[in-house]
């Protein structure tokens, strides 16, 4: 591990304990969303549109209603009308009709697989059969599925009533929901002065998070008018908020219990099934209803990452210093506005100190599923473009790609084109660690026969977020501590949060009993997203632990009959400042809790404006088969600033996992669209994510440049590692075959095409 600044010698932080939920997860005991069992449980099924773009003319549910074993049938008419209503359902204010239509369409279909009606029946099979009997009459419209076609003059228009906001100008009859512009300095003048300019346009396709666990929801609407929901979500409080917005009821009427979650990567922030299960439950005579989404529909109708086109132009002076940058980022939002252009704009030039830049963002609606967050939304796409152009410029200047990046590196005080001035960041430290890595220094070696090998490198950035979290602590009389928090644990955060409280309390983390509570037992927490959980909920745990020490000092004062001002605490021991004989460990004090005032508990809350942004640099060696165009990853090293790595085994796990998702994105993952607007590869057989056989061991190097905005220096880890891989692999391919790749994925056919071996 690279220690950049002096870190105190921690006893718990930086160790690798067995995670608290580990035993349940290796024995099959852990209860995930779909594992919920309730007395009288029935199943739901959703009917979906076979067309990508259509008007719903009529829905006839009578055949389904008459079927034996069917309890309820519903359409969007069962929801309160959402015409011209706006609200916040977790990711900012938005048009509630769009939000609701994305759950169950009321009048128009925007993408194939969009939900139209739903059924509840005695079992899953009966529900599926009943749903298939619902008759929907559609008026099929011409569909448009990519940014280029959607922005043409005669393109089919998805929204007749959409007011496009084009740099502040109101525009009708457009698929471009928004055009934004950010800038700094005078890029036009700077480009005129530039010695070298590289300008390229890149295309990327829509990709899916690919979490292995399907979306699911079980809901019970009871006779009192209260709804209980059990689901797999990245944020139980956000599900509560979204369901109550859709159903138009007070938040206290809905209780959401988050079960164990089988992956999310951003995709389990939005809701799909919860309001449907709720209405079906009510209409079924208050029976609990379970829904599980099939894999085909997860691909077709949940929220993937947008594809699009991105152009990047960069100009350098004679010394290789970047003096001008320009980028136009057009991302496909899917069927409703809201592509991640804001984040892409923030990230595209983030690794560089560019004094003159202009970045335009286009939010374009197309007939594809509504895009939502996927791990650093917008940043991997932007990095593919900017990091390829940076690599070309480094080559033009005859510079080593790391030296080129070091010369131009953004650092503390650098102003980004979107206005933000970087606080302390670890960009330079990460590049130095990459330069010093075994991989970068190692010779390329010899590829297997028939293949050529190349090495590439790229950087990436994610800002990370803060937001609200709460942690409650309660001391047990055996010296253990119950920790209750509301942040969904997708991969070890129960432990990384507990470790921070344990460090403060001076006890081992094995003494913690962390629980992810429901919306009625846990204090409020925003989503597990934006790499915020170990950072923000961990921060809340530190505050709760400090508050607990204050409570326990009072107990010592009672125990020793002294003033509480004369009690102090250090390294797990309470002691009297005026009497060296009086001291007691946390564990011993816990045993006496009942006699010194009863239960001891504390709470800690945070509302953090921002997270600690972080950089990563990845190095990759690829072997390209010149006959088939297949690319294998021969060696891969991911270097990243974690701030402080609280739980290093899981920090490395996040870095390796993110890199592998990026490798899939680079080499073969894509929504392969047919002419009729349907996705052709809706199974894991055809939408192929990397398997164990496709990969070498992903080497990871943690750099620690502590975040001054966190008590232990945590930055947030999960998202940065998916940003560099697409460009790193593209740059390695160039090194291997001497050609540049401007379109992802860089699949065998595309490689052979670029090599001139096959036609497009």
């Amino acid at each position: 591990m690279v220690n950049v600044s002096d870190s105190k010698s921690y006893k718990v932080v930086g160790t690798d304990p067995i995670r608290h939920d580990g035993y349940d997860k290796v024995t099959g005991r852990a209860i995930y969303g779909a594992d919920v069992k309730l007395p009288g449980l029935i199943w739901g099924s959703v009917l979906r549109s076979p067309h990508a773009h259509a008007v719903i003319k009529s829905i006839d549910t009578s055949s389904a209603e008459k079927m034996d074993g069917v309890f309820a049938v519903m359409t969007a008419k069962d929801f309160p009308s959402k015409d011209n209503k706006f609200g916040d359902i977790g990711e900012g204010t938005e048009n509630l009709k769009w939000a609701q239509d994305n759950i169950l369409a009321s009048d128009k279909i925007q993408y194939k697989g969009q939900a139209v009606a739903a059924v509840a029946a005695r079992d899953r099979n009966t529900a599926d059969e009943a749903a298939s009997k619902i008759k929907v009459v559609y008026e099929v419209l011409e569909s448009v599925t990519n940014v280029e076609d959607a922005t043409k003059k005669d393109a089919p228009i998805l929204f007749k009533d959409l007011n496009g906001n084009h740099l502040g100008k109101k525009v009708k009859n457009t698929n471009v929901a928004e055009i934004t512009r950010n800038g700094i300095g005078d890029p036009d003048k700077a480009f005129k002065e530039a010695e070298n300019i590289v300008e390229r346009t890149f295309t990327l396709q829509m990709v899916h998070q690919g979490y292995i666990e399907p979306h699911n929801a079980t809901a019970h609407w009871d006779e009192e008018g209260r709804i209980r929901i059990w689901t797999s979500t990245q944020g139980a409080f956000d599900v509560r908020g979204a369901v109550t917005e859709i159903l138009e009821m007070d938040v206290s009427r809905v209780k959401v219990t988050p079960l164990e979650i089988g992956g999310g990567f951003g995709g389990k922030i939005p809701i799909y099934l919860e309001p449907i299960a709720s209405i079906l439950s009510k209409k079924s005579g208050f029976r609990p209803v379970k829904l599980v989404m099939e894999r085909t529909n997860i691909f077709q109708a949940s929220g993937p990452a947008p594809g699009g086109t991105i152009s990047v132009k960069m100009g350098t002076d004679k010394n290789g210093k970047i003096i001008a940058g320009e980028s136009v980022i057009k991302l496909e939002a899917g069927g409703y506005p809201g592509a991640a252009i804001g984040a892409a704009v923030q990230c595209v030039f983030a690794p560089y100190d560019i004094p003159n830049a202009r970045i335009d963002g286009y939010d374009v609606v197309v007939n594809k599923p509504r895009s939502f967050a996927y791990r650093a939304p917008g940043s991997p796409q932007a990095a593919f473009a900017a990091e390829t152009v940076a690599d070309e410029l480094a080559k033009i200047h005859g510079m080593d790609p790391i030296e080129f990046r070091l010369l131009n590196a953004a650092k503390e005080g650098t102003r980004r084109a979107d206005g933000v001035i970087f606080p302390k960041v670890g960009n330079i430290e990460v590049l130095e660690a990459a330069k010093a890595s075994d991989h970068w220094k190692a010779p390329l070696g010899t590829p297997p026969k028939g293949r050529v090998r190349g090495r590439g490198l790229a950087s990436g950035y994610w800002f990370n977020i803060g937001m609200k979290s709460t942690v409650n602590l309660q001391v047990n009389s055996d010296g253990t501590v119950a920790l209750i928090e509301g942040s969904t644990d997708i991969g070890g955060t129960r432990t990384s949060i507990s470790m921070q409280a344990a460090e403060i309390l001076g006890i081992g983390v094995e003494n913690f009993r962390p629980v992810v509570g429901d919306t009625e037992t846990a204090g409020y927490a925003d989503v597990t997203g934006g790499s915020r959980t170990t950072y923000a909920t961990g921060y809340a745990a530190v505050k709760a632990a400090e508050n607990l020490i204050t409570v326990l000092k009072d107990r010592c004062a009672i125990l020793w009959s002294i003033d509480e001002k004369d009690v102090d605490f250090n390294d797990g021991t309470f002691f009297a400042t005026k009497d060296p004989e009086l001291k007691i460990s946390f564990k011993e004090l816990a045993k006496k809790i009942e006699d010194t005032g009863g239960p001891a508990a504390s709470s800690g809350s945070v509302d953090l404006e921002s997270g600690g942004g972080a950089f990563g640099t990845h190095i990759v060696d690829v072997d390209v088969d010149l006959e088939t165009g297949k690319t294998d990853v021969a060696r891969y090293t991911a270097i990243q600033d974690a701030g402080t790595a609280i739980y290093p085994a899981y920090v490395k796990g996040q870095i390796a996992g993110g890199a592998v998702q990026g490798i899939g994105w680079a080499l073969n993952e894509e929504y392969y669209m047919s002419d009729d607007g349907s996705m052709a590869n809706t199974s894991y057989l055809d939408y192929r994510i990397p398997t164990s056989l496709d990969l070498p061991t992903i080497e990871t190097i943690i750099v620690e440049v502590p975040n001054p905005g966190h008590p232990f220096g945590v930055r947030g880890v999960g998202e940065v590692p998916i940003c560099p891989p697409i460009a790193a692999i593209g740059n390695a391919l160039h090194d291997a075959v001497g050609k540049r790749f401007y379109d992802a994925p860089m699949k065998p056919g595309r490689i052979l095409n670029v090599l001139g071996k096959i036609e497009k």
Partner: protein, 158 residues
């Protein structure tokens, strides 16, 4: 209709005799989860491509979403719930914990059952052999690093 009559299935699951009735179309995965009550085997894709539902039938690794419950009448089925014993965790389970071989954990039962199927027959597989054997189990969180390490560690400890 006669085809809708439930089938009587008599089987052995994790060494215990089990008898249950199931509709003819019910998969082994659904029978385990919904009828027998063993929810350790997970639904991921229902088309045999993710491996989250992997169980062992007479020592052979199968995707239980592609097997009919009726097919295991008279057979031995082993699931993740049968791996630990009165002595504690199976060495594979222990190694998965120690090597941080799981993040979200949804694929973990399938990986454990698959890996056990390998180590039961090949006590000392190479890394490449492990990667090949486990290619039918998808993990989207870990990048596989620690899963491979855990299987290698368990092989040493078995």
């Amino acid at each position: 209709m006669a085809t809708n009559e439930k089938i009587h299935i008599k089987t052995t699951i994790n060494g215990n005799p089990e008898e249950f009735l199931a509709d003819p179309h019910v998969s082994l995965l659904d029978a385990l989860r919904e009828i027998v009550g063993l929810t350790g085997s997970k639904e991921g894709c229902l088309d045999g491509n993710c491996g989250a539902c992997t169980v062992s039938v007479n020592g052979r690794i199968v995707d239980s979403c592609l097997v009919l419950a009726a097919e295991v009448d008279g057979q031995n089925v082993d699931t993740v719930e049968g791996m630990a014993s009165a002595d504690g965790l199976h060495p594979l389970q222990q190694a998965f914990l120690e090597e941080a071989a799981l993040q979200c954990g949804i694929c973990t039962p399938g990986f454990l059952v698959s890996a056990k199927g390998l180590l039961d027959n090949e006590p000392d597989p190479s890394e490449e052999r492990i990667r090949h054997w486990l290619a039918g189990n998808l993990c989207r969180c870990t990048g596989y690093n620690n899963i491979i390490k855990a299987v290698q560690k368990a092989a040493k400890n078995l």
